[in-house]
Subunit: 401 residues, 2 copies
């Protein structure tokens, strides 16, 4: 290799950092460790038997489509199934509003690719999803974090910041929000706050990105309308994925937006991977068509509601005083606030020694705040492990010096 | 939608153009048309029965891996199988040299992402693969085309151009070559020319990208060593894919390179799609493990050799004087040279009226040359259609005014 290889790498390459989650997770690869890190669905929710049946049918009847190159927009049948489902939910869309992506992460990458020039401002929540932070930062986005109150991103702080940025000639490219069971904070934005944010977006002509991978996983409370539905001007870009509500191993996500925006994503996709694997798309389409999707989702919601309950009980029972946590109505995560003086990164090492792991909350804060926070997943572990893991975590917190 | 939406799009978005092939192909979507455009494998080569068997086994025994998130580097078993195969072919690699990509197009995108800053020079062949041209251009690469002689990219012209660029402080980031059954020109670079280009690359410390999707599809002549094998300094980045030798519908490709370069691609992949679908990767791994891959590839090679023969015979029989074409020893394409005064784009419309289609050669030339050339695919059509299609094409050429 040339000694000056480093000089060959692009500026973009320099902006891409290894995911802190993924690097820390390497430490958790030890036998006996209980991991509340990651965001893995429970494998028992994977509908293997139905997929055996459907894979066979697809391969026997539709191999010339399912094993061939597909269209960039995505499998026609799958787009039809998804559109039908969203229309039933009240979203006024058709196939021209939807493009399939190879995972929701690809959709986040496309947002950077299609909208962000180096130095452009992008507004995110404090905290926000790490995958979004990474994708936008790779394109040189300058992230502006807006703090939340109990209803999610503060509309007051949002408008103040936008006024300031617009004055400085730095109008943000978009506002990135995870309104349902936010990752990592777990909260859901009520309808009135969604409307306030839409109003601000309209006033200053800024796009909204509604990232919604967990929305369907509601086990308590009342669903709020999507931002896409509430937005009367069609300036919302909504992201969905099968990863948490079906299987992550297919890497199927989608973007819903105005056709002029979808068109840009389709052009991007031609140069990025041409099309998402036709095989998994066709299987997913037939799976939905047969009604398996709704049935399985129902069971998954029930399971995760149960797991959350176990985790809540364990937290109440074992956590030392001064520790606070959210009680989400859906999704996969709790967010935990340690006493102010504690550093979750320091705690992480003690916890791993104690055979339990989590994700430090700081990585979700684009301004480096959140040192005393951590994200806890409850979808992956079996019940006994949830109880035992919380016990170990509480011990680690108590042992913190 | 906001009236000023266009102002929101990034510079990169402006550099991404819809693929000329894909847009022209839309015109060919009419009943009765015989298409020599595209680069689709013959669906009869898709091993559906074996995939029914393996999908079932994977879903029954390994669902918790195959339907879950995977590692960014790629499925461990699949990487092992691929490495084993390359080692047997004489490439001195291990798993640290290989990352799985979601299609070879993703690998091309990664090359732009990891190496190219706006304005950077990248050397390509004249003509070269459109997907590469698009991917590099999206990142702002300034492509420098080098003409070929009968042995592929001219080493003389290459060195002259590099000297000129280095003097101007514009050392190219890499040299992009498709050495085996080049797309679109169909030729294969002999060993001596590969060595000359490696020597030039070493002298000026420039990376080589060896894009090799068709290499295994040799039905005549003698295989040449890969550039990766011949390169003694480990500065070659080799791209492979299952799309032409197994199924495109899985979208599985891979990159072989020095670990320091692989590391950059893995970091890029975290932000781009996190991981390639675990399901198709595990199926592909088991498919290789069972020996189905080699058996099926053998049959595919035989079939494509036969199809090429049919096409050659038809060309000889029907083409008017003044038309010249290549006679490839493998791959999927012929390259056709019309008389100098003819414009293949103009011919394209007549041809489509005549119910036959091809890809105009100009789109593969980064300098806009090649107006009188066209690319003809012979892998997709059945024998009778090949004969009939060539007849129609010859008629269209005769009718050209």
């Amino acid at each position: 290799m040339y000694s000056n290889l480093q000089d060959s790498f692009s500026k973009m390459s320099g902006r891409m950092k290894k995911s802190a989650i993924r690097e820390l997770l390497k430490l958790t690869n030890k036998p006996g460790l209980i991991s509340f890190a990651g965001g893995l669905p429970a494998p028992c929710t994977f509908p293997s038997a139905e997929l055996v049946e459907i894979s066979k049918e697809v391969l026997e009847k539709e191999a010339s489509i399912a094993l061939q190159y597909g269209t960039t927009e995505g499998d026609d049948l799958l787009r039809e199934q998804l559109v039908k489902r969203y229309v039933a939910m009240g979203l006024p869309i058709n196939k021209g509003n939807l493009v399939i992506t190879t995972s929701s992460q690809q959709a986040l990458d496309f947002l950077g690719r299609v909208f962000v020039n180096e130095g452009d401002k992008v507004i995110v929540e404090l905290p926000s999803y790490l995958g979004g932070i990474q994708a936008f930062t790779a394109y040189g986005a300058d992230l502006v974090g807006i703090c939340s109150d109990e209803h999610g991103m503060s509309s007051k702080l949002l408008e103040e910041k936008i006024v300031e940025l617009v004055k400085a000639g730095q109008k943000p490219k978009f506002i990135y929000i995870i309104p349902d069971f936010q990752n990592p904070a777990g909260g859901t934005m009520p309808e009135f706050r969604r409307k306030e944010i839409i109003e601000i977006a309209h006033k200053y002509e800024i796009l909204i990105v509604e990232d919604s991978p967990y929305r369907e996983l509601r086990f308590e409370g009342t669903a709020q309308p999507t931002i896409y539905q509430l937005d009367t001007k069609g300036i919302t870009i909504t992201l969905g994925t099968f990863s948490k509500i079906f299987v992550p191993g297919f890497r199927i996500g989608w973007i819903i937006a105005h056709p002029d925006i979808i068109d840009k994503f389709v052009t991007a996709k031609q140069s990025v991977d041409l099309c998402t694997p036709a095989f998994v798309q066709r299987i997913a389409a037939r799976y939905m068509e047969k009604g398996y999707f709704e049935k399985n989702l129902k069971a998954t919601i029930k399971l995760y509601g149960h797991k959350k309950k176990i985790m809540m009980e364990s937290f109440k029972k074992y956590m030392p005083e001064g520790v606070k946590w959210t009680d989400p109505e859906g999704g996969l995560f709790l967010f935990v606030y340690l006493p102010e003086h504690m550093d979750a990164q320091k705690l992480f090492m003690t916890a791993v020694d104690n055979n339990v792991a989590f994700v430090i909350g700081q990585v979700f804060h684009c301004d480096g705040s959140g040192k005393n926070t951590m994200r806890i997943n409850f979808s992956f572990c079996d019940d006994d492990y949830i109880v035992e893991g919380v016990k170990r975590l509480a011990d680690a917190i108590r042992a913190y010096k």
